[in-house]
Symmetry: C2
Amino acid sequence: MQAIKVQAEPADASSTERILAAAEALFSEQGFDAVSMNAIAARAGVSKANIFHHFSNKNALYLAVVKDACKESQVRLQHMESSTSSLAERLTHFARSQLQSMLDHGQTTRLILRELLQNGPEHGRELAEQVFGQSFARLVEMIRDGQTRSELRREIDPAAVAVMLIAINVYFFEARDVLRHYPDVDFADDPQRYSEKLLQLMLHGILPAPKEPQQ
Amino acid sequence: MQAIKVQAEPADASSTERILAAAEALFSEQGFDAVSMNAIAARAGVSKANIFHHFSNKNALYLAVVKDACKESQVRLQHMESSTSSLAERLTHFARSQLQSMLDHGQTTRLILRELLQNGPEHGRELAEQVFGQSFARLVEMIRDGQTRSELRREIDPAAVAVMLIAINVYFFEARDVLRHYPDVDFADDPQRYSEKLLQLMLHGILPAPKEPQQ
DNA sequence: CAAGGAATTGACCAACCGGTCAGTCAGTGG
DNA sequence: CCACTGACTGACCGGTTGGTCAATTCCTTG
């Protein structure tokens, strides 16, 4: 029999860490405005005033949370092995691991996607530079590299391939709960199968091959 | 010289319509919690109490707005001509017109996407049934139909094609502001070119064709 | 014209918001 | 032992929130 807490952050972490964790959870679930400082304080197990001791105001706290989330997801997407295997294999691996990572860290992902939906053009640049920029550029580079080795058709725009890959994953994350209710869809609960099917589509296209479908 | 209104809904519409229009604009721009009933009242040019006369509470108003938006976007996607042309042409036309429609009605689109990001599994079903369901099923049917006529490879899952098509468009809408800042991307401001490039990718795949790329 | 229901309003409310503040307390260096 | 400090707290602030209500105006129907 011990202290009852419906939801709480680990008690052994520092106050600042607990506040950040609580704030990230609540912000990602409900968005900025729907979360009160009282709620964050309660979940973190500290007083509201304590939050203002560590963060100058609510917006600063939110910014810290977003920055944290960005850093995390940036780190997560950094290992992208090169050259050892074919472009198709590398793309497949990237797609699979990115999607899995998004699902594993759904909280962070949702926060960033929410941020994406938010305010205008100005705001997009920060995200572009701080979060996705590096890994996107690297992905494009990888594709372009495969293109010089004739592993994909010459007239294709590498950036378009990269965007398509990411679009596929992002949409799965967003629309899973909707897709689940379509009778035609059998992959809503199976990211592995989803990745496989969509990657096949992307690699080989949907039109019938002139001769044999196998390369 | 007349009454000054920084932003307003058309004065000739009924109060209910003006309220709905104002609410949709504000909700889609700022989200549920960030918009106050006072703000909606001011923009609609009515008193706050008047809103509560027409809608039982804030949530009911929001629901009405969402339902309106859903109905509108449902109507928008209903014309999908069949049989006259090849599957590739029909898919291309669908992609182009859907994307254009999303951009033209950015307000509504953003509202629905925001809704998608929101709460859990339960909520997804309503959206599935009320908004996207019909047109998704029809799109799948169209693809399946083309498949029986051997216009696309037999082993392909029509639902996967449909999801890919939609994912491509949704992601463009969401990430435009970010994509714009990538030096590799030349289609962020040109939905037409985006549709073209991505559709080519989807139709022919990215791998080199065994013989001639042209069908 | 009178009657009555719908539309509309300003005044008002309790609850809650983000944020402040004076002050307690544990630790620490001299 | 004392002085100082940073972490931390409960009580509190002005302002705003969603929502109520009695009163008034408007419009229709008899």
